[in-house]
């Protein structure tokens, strides 16, 4: 049975795809939203740390599963190994309706003005493809605002002197400080820094027909038990369905973009929940599958005109994979600092995002989300026993006395940190899998060392009796904050899409996820992904009125 031709097919129901589906269906386009996972439900994981997003030894509650998915990782010595989604090197985000927005910590940052102008601010860097975005913060500002008000953000940027200019405040009041916040806030002020409450995509008060956060222990890494966390699964996607123009098809794994002889996109080939191959033709194709799966789909879609993958004429698809190095420090305190209440992370400083002598950029420093017991078993100073009586004693004594402050370091993009297609390994459906290779730029580690030092200074000022640094490894970045693999730019020779997320050479193929990020900011990326999805959709809607995409 052939499906009815639609105006737009959107692949991936995460932060970007959910918003693109809503915007296009509200504008009157007929939309099919394809998602490889299912609708998530809180009871699927039931407070289970071992399958939560942060620690996945027994699998991912939010997908993908270990049975049908795999990837190949190239080791530093050139050999390869197969990795499963539950292993860290897989570079997983999630696979369900809402994707990462179901289980995320939900920090809602706007990137700063300089984050869009890294090259012109800091100059070229050897070994890095550091570049300016083709758009400025001012271009994105109205769409940040739209994301904050439509998805829902609790925060108060007026307390952050480094916040970029905004026209409208965030819609909900910020979350109050917990014990850690009350310790760290005065300490930061004594150091001359500027702490403020972290903006969060989480209801601090009832909002959008959903209740306020109940401050339970199971927050980051878990779906919200009372639906107080704001993701696309409980905001944009239901709104898209309510228009009557959007059909969400779950358990559908896209394998290829249909390409015609004229080099235009014609729809998507996918495997449905019964593993049958299906074709959904459309006037427009929007890719929002994450910075690893979007390039995989493009590189797996070949035609006479695109022998190396669609949009890959200049060999930039899959390049510049980046995420965030997390640098900071742990500190032990004499009084108990753990108050058994989520979300845990509550305050941040932006004093070290830019303007650090000798460094290109930096990152925000925040206190950590509430941590679970198993995660804490690996939180030890260097040289501390990893097992036995002393390890158990440390766990018992310090689980409630340990504070971490850390932050996402803005990474320097590297051309050879990349997503490719593995020549031999295939997944359950026979689709060639992602092959990850490369390593991070050494400058990331310099910035990390700097931020780790500031973090330790902060903890000591707050009264920590002992601190130890948290440093990233030197291997490939990516992870949940994965970005950069289909860079947007004005020059088709050094980018994949134009400033509207439209793939160069193909006017009806768009990318609306973090793949288009040129650089990834010193912040958690989700609000920027959402703003960009609004930005890309806005362009499509305007162009659609001109009937430009009609077949």
């Amino acid at each position: 049975m052939a499906f009815k031709h639609v105006n737009a097919v959107v692949v991936g129901a995460g932060a970007g795809g959910g918003i693109a589906a809503k915007e296009l269906s509200e504008a009157g386009l007929s939309v099919v939203l394809l998602e490889r996972g299912g609708w998530p439900h809180f009871w699927d994981h039931d407070h289970d740390e071992l399958i939560s997003q942060r620690t996945t030894p027994l699998g991912n509650a939010f997908g993908p599963d270990d049975e049908r998915y795999r990837r190949v990782v190239v080791n530093p010595d050139g050999s390869t190994r197969i990795v499963l989604p539950s292993e860290g090197a897989y570079c997983n985000n999630a696979a369900c309706v809402g994707s990462g927005t179901v289980s995320y910590g939900a920090m809602a940052w706007r990137y700063m003005q300089k984050d869009f102008m890294m090259r012109s601010t800091y100059g070229a860097l050897h070994g890095s493809t550091l570049e300016d975005w083709p758009i400025r913060y001012e271009d994105l500002e109205p769409f940040y605002e739209k994301a904050e008000w439509e998805i829902g953000v609790a925060g108060d940027d007026s307390q952050n002197p480094f916040a970029p200019p905004r026209r409208k405040p965030q819609p909900m009041p910020p979350f109050p400080y917990n014990t850690e916040g009350r310790l760290l806030d005065p300490a930061a002020r004594r150091l001359g820094w500027h702490p403020f409450p972290i903006p969060m995509l989480r209801n601090s008060v009832p909002h959008g027909g959903r209740p306020a956060c109940i401050h339970c222990r199971f927050c980051v890494g878990f779906a919200c038990e009372v639906n107080a966390k704001c993701g696309t699964h409980n905001t944009a996607i239901p709104a898209a369905i309510a228009t009557g123009n959007c059909e969400v098809r779950t358990q559908c794994v896209a394998s290829e973009i249909i390409l015609d002889d004229k080099g235009r996109a014609g729809g998507i080939v996918y495997f449905d929940e019964s593993d049958r191959q299906q074709r959904q033709t459309a006037d427009i194709v929007v890719l929002a599958c994450s910075a690893t799966e979007t390039p995989r789909l493009m590189l797996n879609s070949r035609s006479r005109l695109f022998p190396n993958g669609v949009g890959n004429r200049s060999d930039w698809v899959g390049r510049n994979l980046q995420g965030h190095a997390y640098a900071g420090a742990f500190g032990l305190f004499e009084p108990e600092t753990y108050d058994d209440a989520g979300p845990g992370a509550c305050l941040a400083i932006c004093d070290f995002n830019h303007g650090n002598a000798g460094l290109r950029g930096g990152g925000a420093i925040c206190n950590e989300f509430i941590r679970s017991p198993y995660l804490f078993t690996s939180r030890r100073p260097a040289g501390a026993p990893a097992w036995g009586r002393a390890h158990k004693e440390f766990q018992r004594r310090n689980f409630r006395r340990c504070v971490a402050v850390h932050g996402p370091v803005q990474e320097m993009p590297v051309f050879d940190a990349r997503v490719q297609i593995d020549p031999s390994v295939k997944d359950y459906w026979g689709i060639p899998v992602v092959r990850l290779s490369g390593s991070r730029h050494p400058h990331d580690l310099e910035i990390s060392r700097f931020l780790a030092g500031k973090a330790a200074q902060w903890l000591k000022e707050a009264g920590a009796t002992e601190t130890w640094p948290k440093m990233p490894g030197s291997g490939l970045s990516g992870g949940q904050h994965q970005a950069g693999t289909c860079r947007m730019g004005n020059d088709p020779n050094t980018s994949v899409t134009n400033r509207h997320g439209q793939v160069h050479d193909i006017d009806n193929l768009f990318v609306a996820d973090a793949s288009v990020h040129v650089t990834n900011g010193g912040f958690n990326p989700v609000l920027t992904i959402m703003a960009l999805a609004y930005w890309v959709s806005d362009y499509i809607k305007r162009e659609w009125k001109g009937a430009r995409f009609r077949a």
Binding site: D48, E49, I214, F376, W387, R389, H391, Q395
Partner: protein, 184 residues
């Protein structure tokens, strides 16, 4: 239930039935049917290793928490891929114990068991198995799995009686529906 409705004779009979049941239970420990992957001998070794990794002190340790049951259960589930690693690794630990102290691991004194595991952790363990297998990799694996079984959710067969949650002072199931932040 009031005393009058529970005759003394019936009470004695019930107690005897329960006590009888209890006396049968330890025998089940040794039976083959209890384990999904481990042999009875392997299970004894795993009990001893897990207890070394998270010992009993003022709070119960890994054995009480059922960590060997957790590992056994995962080895026929998500950890199927580690079956051979365990089979060889447990064999290797016995070889090291025999070479070093002339007895099986689980029959060694506490400090000698610790010594054997410390050798594995350092990657310097005697035994034929370790000529091919990596002792540190096996130790790190079973160490990590023990942490999961002890500190993870009870739904997977470990953390019996919520022992680790009680040790850390975490109520479980969690009492929710209250705002726990102090009003600033």
């Amino acid at each position: 239930m009031s005393k009058a409705r529970y005759p003394r004779r019936k009470f004695i009979r019930d107690v005897a039935a329960v006590a009888g049941g209890l006396s049968v239970l330890p025998a089940c420990n040794k039976s083959r049917g209890r384990w999904r992957f481990f042999t009875g001998e392997e299970a004894d070794t795993v009990y001893a290793i897990c207890e070394q990794i998270i010992p009993t002190d003022q709070d119960p340790g890994a054995a009480y928490a059922g960590v060997p049951n957790f590992i056994d259960k995962q080895l026929v589930g998500p950890y199927k891929r580690f079956q051979q690693t365990y089979r060889k690794g447990l064999q290797g630990i016995q070889e090291t114990s025999l070479a070093q102290f002339g007895a099986r691991f689980e029959s060694l004194k506490w400090d000698r068991q610790t010594e054997v595991l410390t050798m594995l952790e350092a990657g310097k363990a005697k035994g034929r198995t370790w000529e091919k297998e990596n002792p540190k990799a096996f130790f790190d694996l079973i160490r990590d799995h023990t942490m999961q079984g002890f500190y993870g959710s009870p739904r997977h067969g470990g953390n019996w009686d919520y022992v680790s949650y009680r040790m850390l002072g975490l109520d479980y199931p969690q009492v929710i529906g209250q705002n726990r932040y102090k009003k600033a």
